[in-house]
């Protein structure tokens, strides 16, 4: 299936459309922040703390009197940045590992599968926590850790795709015509695996956003005063007795992003599933 067709069919799937709307909302919030923000996200106003929603502060103010909407606009940048970096790292590294392991097979394949098994033994954010313990806390290190966490998923999907198509008739035909391995891998097989990889990108993005929020919540991710959804949640929890509504704002933002990407992935999967 060609990409333009895949794209067109996706818009007939309710799940994909709903997910795309959620992601678009967050994307818009982030993009608008580059041109206009109601307040400086770091400007404190202690006389005005934990104010409920009002025309002056549409999403209220936090425990230092900072405008929550402005902080959400800046925080969204980091969610997208970390998610993007983690997916890119997982896509490139995991994809290459999967190609070699699936296309060439043999001992290398066994080793890769074993390593993926090993990686699966580290539950949730444990692997990322271990890497952060070694490399130290910080934005770059967290992106690296989440990128490494995303690798096995991509490797597995790419591997199973290449395993399926490497003996296919169109590959044999290409080989007879004298195509080299590089051409067969990238021009002939990869386009067939690509839709599955797009689904994986979408789901991995959701996973990375979720893990980033979790790590930042623990204080091991993005460091204050830089706003991030996870950190805002822990700040909201600290002032839950005075301002219970504050919790809902970052929680809704994380949910919108994660659910948006999950639904887009599900919708895409449905389209690909029908095609087979």
């Amino acid at each position: 299936m060609r990409f333009s067709e895949l794209w067109k069919r996706c818009w007939h799937k309710k799940r994909f459309v709903a997910g795309a709307c959620m992601v678009a909302l967050m994307l818009l919030l982030m993009l608008a922040g580059f041109f206009w923000m109601p307040y400086d996200p770091d400007a404190m106003e202690l006389t005005n703390k934990l104010q409920f929603f009002s025309p002056a502060h549409p999403l209220g103010t936090d425990q230092f009197g900072r405008d929550i909407l402005s902080r959400m606009m800046e925080g969204a940048r980091y969610s997208f940045l970390i998610g993007g970096l983690a997916v890119a790292a997982g896509f490139v590294t995991g994809g290459l590992i999967g190609i070699f392991s699936g296309y060439y097979g043999g001992k290398l394949d066994e080793l890769v599968m074993k390593l993926i098994d090993v990686q699966m033994a580290f539950p949730g954010v444990l692997l990322a926590l271990m890497l952060i313990a070694v490399f130290g806390v910080g934005l770059g290190n967290m992106a690296l850790a989440l990128g490494i966490m995303a690798i096995p998923r991509f490797a597995r999907i790419t591997r199973s795709g290449f395993l399926k198509y490497r003996e296919a008739d169109f590959v044999k035909a290409a080989r007879v015509r004298g195509a080299g391995d590089g051409r067969i891998i990238f021009r002939h097989i990869l386009p067939h695996v690509a839709p599955d990889l797009i689904v994986t990108c979408s789901l991995s993005f959701a996973g990375a956003v979720m893990s980033e929020a979790g790590l930042s919540y623990l204080g091991l991710g993005i460091q204050p005063p830089t706003p991030s959804f996870g950190k805002m949640l822990s700040e909201a929890q600290a002032s839950i007795l005075q301002a219970g509504w504050y919790v809902l704002v970052p929680a809704a933002a994380i949910t919108l992003l994660v659910m948006g990407f999950n639904l887009m992935g599900d919708g895409l999967q449905e389209v690909i599933g029908h095609d087979r």
Binding site: K114, L115, D117, V118, M120, A121, F122, P123, G124, V125, L126, L129, M130, L131, I132, A133, V134, F135, A206, M210, A213, G214, Y217, L218, G219, L220, L233, A236, Q237, I240, L241, G244, V247, L248, P250, A251, I254, T255, V258, M259, N262, L263
Partner: protein, 313 residues
Amino acid sequence: MAYYARKTAGFIVTLLLVSLVTFAVFQILPGDPATAILGVDADPVQIEQLRHEIGADQPLPQRFLNWAAGVLRGDLGASYQYRQPVAKLISGGLSVTVSLAVFSLALTVLIGIPTGLWLARHGKKLYAAPVTFLSQLGLSVPAFCMSIVLIEIFSVQLRWLPSMGYTPWAQSPLKCLQSLLLPALAISFGSSAVLIRYVRASVSQQEGELYVRTAKSKGAAPGRVMWGHVLRNSLIPVLTIFGMLVTDVLGGSIIIENVFSLPGIGRLISTSIATRDLPLIQGLVLYLAGIVVVCNFVVDILYSVIDPRIRLK
């Protein structure tokens, strides 16, 4: 028999590789442990002596063997911060983490399997939409997000349940369950959504099988077809994701324990990272990963006992 031998060999290799990875990652760390303990200004002779004492001057493979031998004896080294054996600290937190995990798993099964079965039947109906929506929400709301919302509802607004702290079972079973109910609910909200998906898909798949048509054409009532034929066959594959659920629940508890200030392994991990207490982190990571590998192995073996066809594949 060959099947079990192969599975056991794979299990041991995985365990070995997990410990190798855990050991290797902490070797990337720049700097020398002896200098880290004594400080940069310490006497070089003393540093050399300590290096010798803790075995840091030996070659890498030797150090791994020493460490692995220690692990097998139950000796994971001593925590820098607490000045206590790591093994002792872990066993202290383990009871909390295990109670939370068991409670969450029980809730997951109690919610997940009936809802999955119900959705397989009624999923397409309009009145099922809220349930479908909730299970989609379960897949997307991170457990720690959910727990703070639960705190807001059940602790702050309704004042039914405590928002933090842990009461040991021995002290008061009721209070223990109360202190674990919110965290377990938060974890099982997500993991039961995963289970619902699998049960639903598995039942739908089995209902298309030929033996179902045979049973129906013999005149068996729909209830009999469901309970006597479909259910047994569709729950077997669900068992395979049990290993995944254990991983999910344990992974979830790392952050959840911090949200509710439960003194378990997850809480130890985050505090030990904040203080860079490396022997403790290493021990904790190895322990959690070890539990996951063992659980997956047990699930594999159970699966092949329940469904012997697996052994031939």
